[in-house]
């Protein structure tokens, strides 16, 4: 698989987290979230490259692959995903703009195609860092960004990535919001679903 793709993938990691209680208070049903992370070669590492379209195409490809992997890890139908997020960490020989090229122009459309929906902005974060850097993937409701119970984040890291000439790319999905949400705001039951915001 890895050699047929535009991206040269060294490894793919998936993470699933299930929270069953907080402060002794049961979380029922448990909240579950998953992230899929690809570690790829950065074709633009070590030099200034003006045209980043190669990275944009890699982003498109990874948007589909990582969303499929994350949904599969969660073991739910893709249409049952409630919130999502994306992030990238560029190794030390790369530029923050390389993360932007992967994440922003083309990655979102295949994510939404896999999920069947997704009117809201996909929240994102990016950074440059060394091996083992922690990536905090922001999470938001996929159909209405203002759903307060679903403002969240998921930390992922891989001890041997990103190497200097690599980029870590992550997509996270959930079947729920935070474990015991109680700070008010728009609830998922109130989503109008017209503008991706409310």
């Amino acid at each position: 698989m890895a050699d047929k793709m535009k991206a040269s993938i060294r490894k793919i990691a998936t993470f699933v987290e299930e929270t069953r209680s907080e402060m002794g208070h049961a979380v029922n049903p448990p909240t579950r979230r998953a992230a899929a992370v690809a570690v790829i070669e950065n074709p633009c590492a070590g030099k200034y490259v003006e045209d980043l379209s190669e990275l944009m195409l890699i982003g498109e490809e990874l948007g589909e692959l990582l969303t499929q992997r994350a949904v599969a890890a969660l073991g739910i139908p893709a249409t049952a995903v409630e919130s999502y997020g994306k992030a990238a960490a560029v190794g030390e020989n790369g530029e923050l703009e390389h993360a932007a090229a992967i994440l922003h122009p083309k990655l979102g459309a295949p994510v939404r195609k896999v999920l069947g929906k997704g009117a809201a902005l996909i929240p994102s974060s990016k950074k440059r860092g060394g091996l083992g850097v922690a990536l905090d993937i922001p999470l938001g409701h996929k159909d209405a960004a203002f759903v307060r119970s679903h403002f969240d984040g998921m930390e992922v890291r891989i001890n041997d990535a990103p190497r200097a000439n690599e980029i870590m790319v992550a997509v996270a999905v959930t079947d729920s919001g935070r474990p015991l949400p109680r700070v008010g705001g728009l609830t998922k039951g109130e989503i109008k679903g017209e503008d991706g915001l409310r």
Binding site: D3, R10, I12, A13, T14, S21, A73
Partner: protein, 194 residues
């Protein structure tokens, strides 16, 4: 003995295609299952703790099964394993030792007749502590190509009165293993060592 209270569970799977060398036709997969549980002995010295090992057996089996599932569902693909624990700051290292029997025997039971000792490590640490869980071949500890490790940890665990329990399974040798030693194909399988 007290009931096992689980706050969260976590599964990680890595699929490794290469590490700078030729792309493997059979990517190495490593999976880790973590459970964060309440430490019933936190905050005081408790002399009799061994009974908790029995309480942990169902969790060990559940985690071992979840690892096989994460690796595709066939226990025959599993070639390496390991286990570990991180004890929160109000506990003692000995509490981590409670995991040896229920964690190790659960994996052996699920994998059939695994003969080698399950490599392990443990430490006391705060939230975010990372643990390098050692990995060796399931039938012969000396198989050099399968000496490996997987780093695990969770940003919010273990809290002071918690224990983070880990089981790890892998599907093969290091992706570019080439430092000789006993090969998996040479295992005699008599003593769990060679």
């Amino acid at each position: 003995m007290p009931e096992v209270q689980i706050r969260k569970k976590f599964t990680a799977v890595e699929e490794i295609f290469h590490e700078g060398g030729p792309i493997s036709s059979r990517p190495l997969r490593r999976a880790a299952a973590l459970a964060v549980i309440h430490n019933p002995f936190a905050g005081a010295y408790v002399k009799e703790i061994a009974g908790f090992m029995d309480d942990l057996k169902p969790l060990g089996l559940e985690m071992a099964r979840s690892l096989v599932k994460a690796l595709g569902g066939d226990p025959k693909v599993v070639e390496g394993y390991g286990k570990g624990a991180i004890i929160g700051s109000a506990g003692e290292l000995e509490h981590g030792a409670l995991w040896h029997v229920p964690g190790g025997y659960a994996m052996r039971e699920i994998l059939g007749d695994a003969k080698a000792i399950v490599a392990s490590t443990k430490k006391v640490g705060g939230p975010g502590t990372r643990l390098d869980v050692p990995i060796t071949h399931i039938n012969a500890s000396y198989v050099r190509s399968h000496f490996d490790a997987m780093e695990v940890g969770l940003a919010d665990s273990p809290r002071a009165d918690e224990i983070l329990l880990a089981l790890v399974m892998t599907t093969g040798p290091r992706v570019h293993a080439r430092v000789g030693g006993l090969k998996a194909s040479e295992i005699k399988g008599e003593d769990g060592l060679r």
